[in-house]
């Protein structure tokens, strides 16, 4: 078992330069995706299939009535208990030994179940055209540059981050660092917290947030949707079992019929007695 790694994001050190956004596009060869004017400096409302991380810009009036201009590098959290992995019908989504959650593009069928079940809404579908002009879809999100990690490199976004707002390293060390950092900034940001939600088993992108998660549009207590648990852990196995059971029943019925018909020598087509 290799070490698990965590991308540590200290939003209080981010200066909003967005190098992480282009580094991601550059490494992953993602096309640009022009958007409408959103009324702020922010370029994209949220992550998309071609934009795996988005820098959020939030003008927030804090408890003291002062203006905080908050930034957040938003991308896949790489949950330890990932809803996307759970709901993927093709087992295209898997955990790597580093703790990252990746989508196998060869297996992905573009069903979008992961898109709808991600508690952070960071997965998106992209429509492609094959050489015959036929459309097909694939699901995309941040890979944490698992290909780079395999080669001993850090994710592209972390590599380029100049303020130290992002670091990449051993999971426990990064979580510790986050907790330490929160203590340091409590004076400046009384609501500061480590965001490593346990509802999804903890994440491999761990944030030091300056404010409550809701200020960043993040769920306070994200978890794998109950529907997904019921579906994948109960409905689907039970459903499969039921298909099996009924199939077994009819097979049993078929065999029994053959068996009893012979034994009873009942050659009538309708074995029913009259109904007195």
């Amino acid at each position: 078992m290799a070490k698990e790694y965590v991308k540590y994001v200290d939003v209080t050190k981010c200066d909003g330069c967005r190098a992480c956004m282009v580094a991601c596009k550059n490494w992953n060869d993602l096309p640009a995706e022009p958007t409408e004017f959103l009324g702020s400096v922010q370029s994209h409302a949220k992550t998309t299939a071609d934009t795996w991380n988005v820098l959020q810009y939030i003008e927030h009036e804090n408890g003291k009535g002062d203006l905080d201009y908050l930034f957040r590098h938003s991308s896949c959290f790489h949950c330890s208990d990932a809803a996307c992995e759970k709901v993927c019908p093709e087992n295209a989504i898997s955990y790597t030994k580093y703790g990252t959650v990746v989508i196998d593009q060869d297996k992905c069928v573009g069903c979008g179940y992961c898109v709808q079940n991600c508690p952070f809404e960071v997965i998106s579908l992209k429509t492609y055209k094959d050489k015959n002009g036929k459309e097909y879809r694939k699901s995309h999100k941040c890979t944490m540059c698992t290909d780079r990690i395999e080669e001993g490199l850090q994710p592209a976004c972390v590599t380029t981050c100049h303020t130290g707002a992002m670091e990449f390293g051993d999971k426990d060390a990064m979580i510790q660092k986050a907790e330490q950092r929160v203590k340091e900034i409590k004076d400046r940001y009384p609501n500061a917290m480590v965001y490593n939600p346990q509802g999804v088993g903890g994440t491999h992108t761990v944030y030091v947030l300056a404010e409550k998660p809701s200020v960043y549009g993040l769920p306070e207590n994200p978890k794998v949707p109950t529907s997904a648990v019921l579906w994948k852990d109960y409905a689907q196995p039970i459903g499969k079992a039921m298909i099996g059971a009924t199939t077994m029943a009819v097979v049993g019925a078929f065999v029994a019929n053959k068996f009893f018909s012979k034994k009873a020598g009942n050659d009538a087509e309708d074995g029913g007695g009259s109904h007195e």
Partner: protein, 190 residues
Amino acid sequence: MVEMNLNRRQFLKLSGATAATLAVVELGFNDKKAYAKSKEFKIAKATVTPTICCYCGVGCGILVHTKDNTVVYTEGDPDNPINEGKLCSKGTTLRQLYTSEKRLTKPLYRAPGSNKWEEKDWEWMLDTIAKRTKETRDRSFVEVENGVTVNKTERIASLGGAALDNEETYLLAKLMRGLGVTYLEHQARI
């Protein structure tokens, strides 16, 4: 600060005018290709050349990865002490300076009154520019003004150059002053 065996492979070779570097920030592990990918690692077999960012005056080091006659990746040069491998959004995008479909690839000429560009070859362009320069210079050259030798032309201007290399700015300044140009300006003024 959590140290993660930031072993840098130091800058390797500097031979003549070209240099190659393999500067990567390594993690403390190297499980090669645990998850085998059919895709080749993007910068494997790429040539790496250090450069300095062409945007602001910070002067960050950038590594340009080239392969198959194109730029496949650009990233911060970890050896450069100014930026230690870090970049802003502009520096990170350096790659598209090469790959952008909007790059000019041919000399273009616009005739007086014309509403379109015409492609011309370099030779014709430079010959014609030299001719125009000479015509204007010859017509407007002032040798003496109020008894003082001034050797100037005030009908030619040269603007720009803040993005040129030092050697280029030097030659440009030398050529323009050599021709007698007084309207010599660049972006330091704006």
